[in-house]
């Protein structure tokens, strides 16, 4: 177990920040991102004797983070029914302007699964097969989530991208 702990320390140093950034891209809130990343790391540590033998322990931690995010979304829906107060805009936001701001806001408004698929695909540059594994869906569904998410973003950005042919379906496994 002592050796495991040392290994986990290195794993934590290598992966925590990446998890935190993914958490931010999913939630838009660094505080929530940190909570998610810590929860993912805590659960990974609990399973570390098993997880350390995996080819990609980081994929396990990421999967925990995605699952936790999904359950938090469910809880938020329940809370929203009881709490009418609007969410305060007190969080650190990226300093975007113009079209980037439009795109960021559009990304934030995507359905959670589409947003998650896009973050995995285009921030972490995971191949679509791995995106599917992380989301726990068939590859076709993952492709569809990315495709539909991009389509919505393109619509939001307007004329500039109206005629663009989306290419994500041709990039499987890249």
């Amino acid at each position: 177990m002592v050796g495991d702990d040392r290994e986990f320390l290195d794993f934590f140093a290598d992966e925590f920040w990446s998890l935190r950034r993914v958490g931010f891209l999913l939630t838009g809130d660094w505080g929530e991102a940190e909570e998610l990343a810590q929860e993912a790391m805590a659960r990974t540590f609990a399973a570390w004797p098993r997880v350390r033998g995996y080819d990609h322990p980081a994929a396990f931690a990421r999967r925990v983070l995605l699952n936790r995010h999904r359950s938090l979304l469910r809880r938020a829906l329940v809370e929203a029914r009881h709490l009418l107060a609007s969410r305060p805009e007190e969080h650190h936001q990226p300093d975007f302007g113009g079209d980037d701001l439009v795109l960021w806001q559009a990304l934030r408004r995507l359905p959670a699964r589409q947003r998650t698929a896009i973050v995995l695909r285009y921030y972490l540059d995971l191949p679509e097969a791995e995106v599917a594994r992380q989301l726990g869906v068939p590859v076709g569904t993952a492709k569809s989530l990315v495709h539909r998410g991009l389509a919505r973003l393109r619509t939001r950005l307007g004329a500039e991208y109206a005629g663009e042919r989306l290419t994500s379906n041709t990039e499987a496994g890249r």
Binding site: F24, W30, E34, R43, L83, H92, F96, I118, S168
Partner: protein
């Protein structure tokens, strides 16, 4: 640019200015994992206790109490000086650290560096002892890792500056520190974070720059915490450098930075705290170019509304950042996985739910007049809080370092 390339760029940009974490992330993650077993264990203990009490009351219904009520902490003690003569030494050559620990204590790798464990807890698993002293030396600046408003500052015998924070995980944040710390119920936490100076560490991840040493006791059993307070104090005070290193804020003989070499920035804005009444306004000094230099920059923060200063306790508050450019530029350090820099500044705002400061502006001004400002949240945030229990206390501000 295709929509995909644009999304890639946007996602990368969105996390390019990452705020520092609040608190030590590894420690918080490891403390979090204990919660489940702790709660489960507590339930089991309560059930067993209930059975024992029930049995005792059935067998001896008239027996009077024979002793004092149980307490969860030892009587109040002062920290008595303990000599470290003859104690074994722990040496971390890569991070330039030597310290001594009591004979008979077990030294073993722990989740946060090494653990020093008293004999009675030596059979516990790393990270799970009811009392263990964690020691770690790491790259980064010693301040801003913890909620420093709860801490006290001091210096080791070797002259290194430190911050000591003390926490009571079982007390609600609004309760504040207990009136009698030694006899307060519940677990204890304390950490000394020491400025270990500017040097080049070796090992798997070599780093040249500011370093810190953390000596901490996490969520300790109250009785053990009080019993070993003198030992912890002696361990901390025995810490010494193998090779003398200048303080992290030292100028290293460099010329003073010119005004055009830096700018004030606050990419993180406001951040929360473990205490619900406290908000931090955090920022950094960014490197703009020019030769390597030393920056010492006094900052002043005022709280304003409609352009007029509000009469808030501690306002205007001051902070002075001091470090090297470009070495301590946050973006450069972030690429190296180091997130605390001597050129970070922080001001704490305590509002105690009064809403006095709702919507007010925090304005941080450098000596030459350059400013950054940040609006505090409006009343909606405060009204939503369920845990504001201290209405009536005056708002206050303070700066670090």
């Amino acid at each position: 640019m295709t929509i995909e390339d644009r999304v890639r760029r946007l996602l990368a940009d969105a996390v390019a200015h990452e705020p520092p974490p609040r608190g030590a992330p590894l420690e918080r993650a490891l403390r979090r994992r204990r919660t489940g077993p702790t709660i489960a264990g507590a339930i089991v203990v309560l059930v067993v206790l209930a059975l024992v009490v029930a049995l005792a009351s059935v067998r001896r219904p008239d027996r009077p109490p024979t002793g004092p009520p149980a307490t969860t902490a030892a009587p109040a003690t002062t920290v008595a000086a303990v000599s470290t003569a003859g104690w074994p030494a722990y040496v971390d050559r890569a991070r330039n650290l030597r310290l001594r620990y009591p004979p008979g204590w077990k030294l073993r790798p722990g989740p946060l560096g090494v653990e020093l464990v008293p004999p009675e807890y030596a059979s516990s698993r790393p990270g799970r002892a009811k009392y263990a002293v964690g020691v770690a030396a790491f790259p980064g600046f010693y301040l801003s890792t913890y909620d420093w408003r709860e801490g006290t500052r001091g210096r080791l015998p070797g002259g290194q500056a430190y911050l000591q924070v003390v926490g009571y995980p079982d007390l609600a944040p609004w309760e504040g520190p207990p009136a009698s710390p030694a006899t307060a119920p519940g677990r204890r936490f304390t950490a000394y974070v020491v400025d270990w100076g500017r040097f080049c560490s070796t090992g798997p991840k070599p780093f040249c720059g500011a370093h810190a040493v953390r000596v901490a006791v996490y969520d300790a059993n109250a009785r053990a915490f009080e019993r070993y307070r003198p030992h912890l104090d002696a361990i901390v005070r025995s810490a010494s450098q193998l090779r003398a290193a200048p303080p992290s804020t030292d100028g290293a003989g460099r010329p003073a930075c010119r005004p055009d070499q830096w700018r004030l920035a606050s990419p993180f804005g406001l951040s929360g705290s473990s205490a619900p009444h406290r908000i931090f306004f955090t920022g950094i000094v960014r490197y703009r170019g020019g030769p390597a230099c030393h920056l010492r920059l006094p900052l002043r923060m005022t709280v304003e509304r409609d352009g007029r200063a509000l009469p808030v306790t501690g306002s205007p508050s001051t902070a002075t950042v001091e470090g090297l450019l470009p070495d301590d530029d946050q973006r450069r350090l972030a690429r190296l996985g180091v997130h605390d820099t001597p050129l970070m500044w922080e001001f704490a705002v305590e509002e105690w739910c009064n809403r006095d400061l709702a919507g007010a502006t925090l304005r941080v001004t450098a000596e030459d007049g350059r400013q950054v400002e940040q609006a505090l949240p409006g009343p909606s945030r405060l009204q939503r809080r369920q845990d504001c229990r201290d209405r009536g206390r005056p708002a206050a501000v303070a700066g670090l370092p």
